[in-house]
């Protein structure tokens, strides 16, 4: 869906998404890394369970919520990737307990 602009000097980092490894570029937001890896559905809604994708990419729409390193409902567009980061997509309502 998305293609990166050429940027050969940026180092690569590795994340896990739902247990699968993907590569991203240092400086990517989690949302950008997901989209670049072709992962478009980052969650389903809590009541209707409709699929949702990152949309505004600037912290406003709250559609890109994912679990990051065990913390649920974080805005993927506002968190930068880090090597070894664990991302889990969310399905329906999150758990209140850890």
């Amino acid at each position: 869906m998305f293609r990166r602009l050429p940027d050969p000097d940026t180092p690569t980092v590795t994340l896990s998404v739902d247990g699968r490894s993907i590569e991203a570029r240092a400086g990517d937001s989690v949302a950008a890394a997901l989209l670049a890896a072709g992962i478009v559905t980052c969650r389903t809604t809590p009541v209707g369970e409709a699929p949702r994708a990152p949309y505004c990419m600037m912290g406003v729409c709250f559609d890109c919520l994912v679990e990051i390193d065990g913390m649920a409902s974080r805005q993927a567009c506002l968190v930068r990737v880090r090597d070894g980061m664990r991302i889990d997509t969310q399905h329906g309502k999150r758990q209140a307990a850890p």
């Binding site: 809590p46 009541v47 913390m71 649920a72 409902s73 329906g92 309502k93 999150r94 758990q95 209140a96 307990a97 850890p98």
Partner: protein, 374 residues
Amino acid sequence: MAPTREHDVAVIGGGLVGAAIAWGLARLGERVAVLDEGDVAFRASRGNFALVWVQSKGLGLAPYAAWTKRSSDGWAGFADMLHDETGLDVAFQRPGGLHLCLSESELAARHGYLMRLHNQPDMVSYPHEMLERRAVEALLPEIGPEVAGASFCPLDGHCNSLRLLRALHTGMQRHGATYLANHIVERIDPEAGGFRLATSGGAVRAGKLVLAAGIGNARLAPMVGLSVPVRPQRGQIIATERVQPFLNHPITTIRQTDEGSILIGDSVEEAGFDDTVGLGVVATMAERAVRMLPLLGRLNVVRSWAALRVMTQDGFPIYDQSERCPGAFVATCHSGVTLAANHALVFAPMLRDAALPAELAPFSAKRFDVPAAA
């Protein structure tokens, strides 16, 4: 030309009190008009906490406890009727509710309060108990270390009050009621066979009328010889993101909605008509909620709001018929959710018959009158 309409009853106010009464009257075959204000209204019915609550109500007026219990007992059937008529599930549940105490002294104070309540003469009897921490833990394993105990009442429950408002409006219109938005009542004139209401949307005529306009009743009541001393009392609510169901019992100040949100609420503030949210109060509410249920600290807050309760000076409802203008009634309370079943299924038939029985006499606003010197 402003339209003129003929109705058996004009209900002034389209919130939970007015809509419940209007639905109750319409299903009895009365021709009902509901006059609502519009977006300028304070609309307590859109900002409430949605408990259907029994425990702790009625200290100082035992008949209020009986009236509340009666509505609570009628609620399941009421919800079923609404569902059958409209297809809308108002998500009524009655799992029993808890009032959590965060110290031994809070627990002792709660116990004393409930003893005074239940020791009143003519107090209705219903099951309720004080629970030690261990018993609370069995019901709510997530409680924090400071919780000393709780009072528990199996009659307490909750619902989806926004859907309740929608179901009442849908239901009353199916029964032929006319909903008139943006009809602010400016003047009420008794005339032969009823009343003429001058409104911002034109004149409306009706045989009887019910003031169910919340805080607006204070302004409207003198037009028909009634006195309804009510004031706004602010309450604030915090809503979190939706989470998997875990809170199996509503707590006085915390409940999980049918769709998963956690609501934290029930502040009590004298702030006049100011319905803005104040960070200080919201922060205190959140802090107490996290002490009760520490896992709430992990949840994202998605919004908070304030709304204005409709409060009398003793906190109890007012139901009255005007002596100067028979056929003019008032119904006002701050528990439009809890009492909705009574308003629809008990109070509406009284209005149709144009007589309030002795059972409702304790709720007359005459209780506020200073007795005349002998």
